[in-house]
């Protein structure tokens, strides 16, 4: 069954929402006693945004093949235009729509209902005869999900255990509103590592169609050494998956390391040594614990954990 037979399923999108309190214009620490804040934190610690938090359910009737982004766009049109989430290209290239689906960081536009909907009450509930299910519940939400496009998932919805998909903002970053997270910390960390080709810096000029300087030569096998890395779309999925990155400053993060590795492995780049020095730090490669959660949902298919492992070896073996 490919989910294209026109059978719709009822699914609830459970969204963790947040609306920030309006910013006040007066300076933050009006009281002289409040200046220090926590005795443990520095004065520059990022302020946790304050506001209203709640969970909201949206019930939809959709084809199992529908992407979760399309579900949310439908909600905007027909149920709740105030629901906030980033999106742009809708087919996995722009990298704007990374969120946590059932707790797992991934892109809204590549995730489908049939792969993520889980029966809500599979755990800790009994069926009509009073028995609890013992298979495919506790450790295997994916096992439930796989059934959705088939008959058991549909009937599951009918017999009172509705299908649910839980959505929250990308973990590891401050929430700005609903599913929108502030990923500027990631971009700042990438920028710190000079994320641009460093070579002789000469640009070509032309007169009457004739050129004075040509391209840097690079053989296909030299390109292969970094091509996959150059496909990173900076969506932040790897960062949201990383248990060390969660919380920010202690680790420069997998995305920044992938960017560094992209240039270190580019035969045209002349700054490899300086680049390796820049990541050979306590908050650089030393902070990576090789958990490899970063590899699991990379939308560009980069084996982030393995690449970082290779990078660490390269830095250590110099």
């Amino acid at each position: 069954m490919n989910g294209n037979d026109g059978t719709r399923v009822q699914v609830t999108l459970r969204v963790h929402r947040f609306t920030p309190r309006p910013e006040r214009d007066r300076p933050r620490s009006g009281s002289p006693f409040a200046k220090q804040g926590s005795p443990f934190g520095s004065g520059t610690a990022r302020r946790r945004p304050r506001g209203k938090q709640w969970t909201q359910d949206y019930l939809l009737s959709v084809l199992p093949d529908t992407t979760i982004l399309d579900c949310l766009l439908d909600i905007k049109r027909t149920q709740d235009p105030s629901l906030a989430f980033r999106y742009s290209c809708g087919h996995g290239m722009c990298g704007s729509d990374a969120v946590a689906i059932n707790g797992t960081p991934t892109l809204l536009c590549t995730a489908k209902v049939k792969d993520w909907a889980v029966a809500q009450t599979a755990r800790n509930t009994t069926d009509a005869e009073g028995f609890r299910k013992t298979t495919g519940t506790d450790d295997d939400p994916a096992g439930n999900a796989a059934d959705v496009s088939g008959t058991s998932g549909v009937s599951g919805a009918h017999d009172g255990s509705p299908l649910v998909i839980e959505l929250s903002a990308l973990p590891g970053f401050p929430v700005q509103r609903d599913l929108i997270a502030d990923i500027d910390p990631m971009l700042e960390q990438i920028k710190r590592l000079k994320p641009y080709l460093q070579a002789d810096g000469k640009l070509a000029t032309t007169k009457d169609g004739k050129i004075d300087v040509f391209e840097y030569l690079q053989r296909p096998e030299q390109l292969a050494a970094y091509e996959t890395l150059s496909n990173c779309i900076a969506c932040g999925v790897c960062e949201g998956s990383c248990p060390v990155f969660a919380g920010g400053e202690a680790f420069i993060g997998p995305a920044a390391l992938i960017t560094a590795s992209r240039f270190i492995n580019d035969s045209r780049d002349t700054a490899a040594d300086a680049r390796m020095d820049a990541i050979d730090t306590a908050d650089g490669i030393a902070a990576c614990q090789s958990v490899r959660a970063c590899s699991r949902h990379c939308p560009r298919g980069i084996d982030v954990g393995e690449e970082i492992w290779q990078l660490i070896a390269k830095v250590k073996e110099r």
């Binding site: 149920q79 709740d80 235009p81 105030s82 290209c89 722009c94 971009l187 070509a204 900076a234």
Partner: protein, 633 residues
Amino acid sequence: MSPKHVEQMYDALIVGAGAAGLSAALGLLRSERIAQMTQEGRAPKILVVSKLQPLRSHTGSAEGGIAASLGNVSEDDWHWHYYDTVKGGDWLVDQDAAKLLAQEAPVTVINLERSGVAFSRTADGHIAQRKFGGHTAHFGQQPVPRAAYAADRIGHQILHTLWQQCIAQGVEFAEEWYVTDLVLDERHERVEGVVAYDTHTGKVHALHARNVLLATGGAGRLFHTTSNSWDLTGDGMALTLEAGLQLEDSEFVQFHPTGLAHTGILISEAARAEGGVLRNSDGEAFMQRYAPGHADLAARDVVSRSIMAEIDAGRGVADPKDPQGPRDCVWLDMTGIDPEHMHAVLPQVVETIEDYAGIDPTKDYVPVKPTAHYTMGGIPITTDGEVYTWADGARHKVTGLYAAGECSCVSVHGANRLGGNSLLDACLFGQRAGAAVAARIADSHAVASPDDNAVAAEDPSQDAVETTAQTRRTELAGLLKPTGQAGENTGSEASSQPQTLQDDNAYQLLADLGSAMERALAVRCNHDSIAEALQLVNEDFAERARALHTHSDSTAFNQEVTAIWEVRHLLELAKAMLRAADARHESRGSLKRTDYPDRDDKQYLAHSMVASTGTVAWQPVHILDMPPQAREY
């Protein structure tokens, strides 16, 4: 990122951060005179304002390549590229601009490579090139590999490289700021600045500038089925119309023949090159009938028109995802391609079909329909990116106003764009516009003292930018009064039925406008289809747009505010596009008028110049080297 503080006066504001906007920023900062000024501690104040973080720009979705007669794979000559571009555009191309495009293409591509683009390579390490529709050697003799590529991700590579170089140059960005107004002086002769809405805080900023460069991209969201991202809402074009200026050739919109059914996501031409065949509801391979000899590999506009003719004749099929819906697709039959070969040479195509249609193309037919892809027309510019109006038979420049990329029309694409020429247009003419702004900044700093910054704010009532910003603030306050529907009910209980909104919203209006424009203009049109859409746009839709309001009164990241302004921009643009299409009584390139089926060089070898009033003026095409001929492939 938002700027730490807003300057009293900017030397240059660049609106948009895709290939064109970023190329402009680099063209500006890399110019020698600006580098000199910066070294002397007189760095010009420049800000790039964009409604997306730059890496999210739609440039990143371009797949195929960027055209340049490098001759890395086989002999090539820029004269041939020049000819192909003029012919592909059905002779509605300004030949001085196309000549420049072809001549400067190689240096543009070389400098992208030297900036870091990971181009695919030939065995000896040069930039690899592939064949592309309409690009030929010896003036139409045989296909030539002219498109420099990076697997099927050239746009991603170019976008990221340009952003990286901007980081190297320390460019300041105002990200997720939406420009609501372009402000000119009263006589529409000089730019004064823009008004921008910071979506993070909901603040409206008056940004004064000596130079403004628009690089906001296309307007695919005018149509229901489009390959364009959700953000391509024609903002720059609408800003220009609303400021009292004109658009050029806005009636020309390219429809790519094979969008994946109602998603509009592109299925590359390579699918047909490898043996894919288009079939109607009877299973007939109909292209043989429309284009004997070329069949499924005829020119883009020809294939799109043939598909629509089949659908109009009742031989279309429904998108299997919406079986009860309109029969507005045809089948792409790829089952004749050996499955192993298909996976080897069309990996991205197979992945897209599997992911977004849930279909195995080795076994089942794939539903496709033409998808809105590219706006050939736009803000009229000179080859240095200067915006002008056409009046009394002459171009009148607007001092300090520039444009580049898909939102502009230097007229290198004419009535139909060749593949590989859009990235080239954006990078090359973006760079040129940036260099032109640089020269103007350097000139003005050389004569005037840098301390005359405060000119703008002396008398607030004379400050047009601030006045316009104040009007927007008042309007915003009105938009933010919700009527208490939906939105923030905090209940977590699942109701048994989907809730439905009782009142209208911008997202729904966007969808309805897309359907109406598709009925009126997609692939073919006539006076009646245009008139019907114009009536909707002028009456029903206009009324709905006026009545729109948000469903939450919180200003932080209130996406509905932007959506309301976007849909109003689209309506403004739709009106102009429909008027221009109505005024052109001929068929040329991508514009097929069923009531005027032939090209008419006597009357319409001219660019339409439409204003927001609906008046259309005609500007003669620049013919330099090649008089019009029949366009045959």
